[in-house]
Symmetry: C2
Subunit: 295 residues, 2 copies
């Protein structure tokens, strides 16, 4: 292990180094948290580290831009990379170790195993990014098994991903508690995302309409209105605001992600969207709580 | 947990009980071994427990007849079940705990995750039992994660299964050492198998031809002869001996299971077969070592 260029944060690139560090903490009776990331860290990621620190004595952040979760036409090569800055930000919020393996360490020659989660992986981003959630499920399983943390924290910003991870952790009996961290937003409501860096100045003025329109739709759905007309009107408003394409704007069961015709009285629901402004794909999601007594 | 009906072996049916027992051993600094089985235990299974005891201080045997690794036309319902006898046999060889969950514990409502291993899962039994190795890979991942043993022992009798498990353990970074146990045979060479109980008296006289013909083929292949004619002659001899169908008789790379035209000089090879006598499907396999200096 070595110190990060811009800070005192130790960096492990080798799985042996990682496991020795975690084993030393375990031997001292300390609880361990993990925050998996693809780097290009913003305040949303850092809030996940803070959440992990509230639940564990030592926190590992991983940085791995996972090639298997990008489609062939997606932005793997262009995805922002800034490890030195990331390490400094992590150190500043109290993270204890950065685990930053390279692709050959993660997927050695002969690698042949895939973790597939049916149900929650299908529809929404699963339809628009074939293979994406298999890539996510497989790399998250590997990261969880390399670190074997007590708790792992993932952002609610990637809500479908979070539900996929909750499902695979339960199904494979991974001995870890999964915690979802609330989405952090700009003052105009835009959800923080590493991909926001792709936006031109003009696109940046359009982008907050996603959250604004979703909030309006969520308010209407919370009144119990039928989802179809509410969401069709929402899509029209997004296009009118300047979005090039709305991949989906959908009301789903908050756990199973099964489609809903209206907000149910007895189960939590979630509004989810993906839309392109220029060439940049933005996603967001909101809870649509049942109104007590309205059901 | 409760004692087994016919012996002093503790039985855990609940994952919590299992994990508490293993955690207590870990806290005492003991090494833990796991021997996954589908029950109907014979001397082959018990030899795996003995192997595990040589490598661990405490050994868990699991008993779970896994429905997801049986095809719709296969023998799941008829598969022999004899838990009380199994528990007594395990106790007699020094096993410390039997983990015998039911199907609802293994696959609760909503279960949706599958572990798939490409490469070694394809061909051979993978062609004749679609979905079989996905079922095996998924349940073995779950058992390994429920027990988190230091070492897990699997029989070489199910050689392709063993290679699938070696691959998934490496690929998913499961923190366990996989050990293969040699096949145990009857005096006439028939590999021990729980399915041998299906054989009629007449079929039982035919069954040993599988090992005999494979040994002859292995000797010929070890001389460097081309695999095609040797294996075709072997299939004819199996049919002449009374086998109803030979699903495959194949020479493969011992690790990747890639097809081979002849035994290579520089890598270990394996001869594998599956054949039906009456309605019973038998499998077997043998190493075909390179002869030193024979090139």
């Amino acid at each position: 292990m070595s110190d990060a260029p811009n800070g005192p944060l130790p960096v492990a690139r080798d799985t042996g180094d990682l496991r020795r560090a975690v084993a030393a903490w375990r031997a001292a009776g300390l609880r361990v948290g993990l925050v998996p990331t693809m780097g290009a860290l913003h305040a949303g990621h850092l809030s996940l580290v803070t959440l992990a620190l509230a639940r564990a004595d030592r926190v590992v952040a991983s940085l791995f831009v996972n090639p298997t979760q990008f489609g062939p036409a997606e932005d793997f090569a262009a995805y922002p990379r800034a490890e030195a800055e990331d390490a400094a930000k992590l150190a500043a919020v109290g993270c204890h170790l950065l685990y930053a393996p390279d692709a050959a360490t993660m997927y050695p020659a002969g690698f042949a195993t895939t973790v597939t989660v049916e149900g929650v992986s299908r529809g929404l981003c699963g339809d628009h990014r074939p293979g994406h959630f298999e890539g996510v499920a497989t790399v998250v399983t590997k990261l969880l098994l390399r670190v074997l943390p007590d708790v792992a924290v993932f952002g609610e910003k990637d809500y479908q991903q979070l539900q996929v991870i909750r499902r695979l952790v339960a199904d494979l009996d991974l001995p870890v508690t999964v915690v979802g961290g609330p989405t952090v937003r700009e003052v105009d409501g835009l959800a923080l995302s590493s991909r926001n860096a792709y936006l031109t100045a003009e696109e940046r003025t359009i982008a907050p309409a996603l959250y604004r329109v979703m909030t309006e739709c969520g308010d209407a759905l919370q009144q119990g209105l039928a989802a179809g007309p509410v969401l069709e009107a929402g899509i029209r408003r997004l296009v009118a605001a300047g979005f090039a394409e709305v991949e989906y704007l959908a009301l789903r069961d908050a756990e199973t992600l099964a489609p809903l015709d209206a907000r149910p009285a007895d189960r939590p629901a979630r509004l989810l969207a993906a839309a392109r402004v220029g060439r940049t794909r933005l996603i967001d999601n909101l809870p649509v709580p049942a109104v007590a007594g309205s059901g």
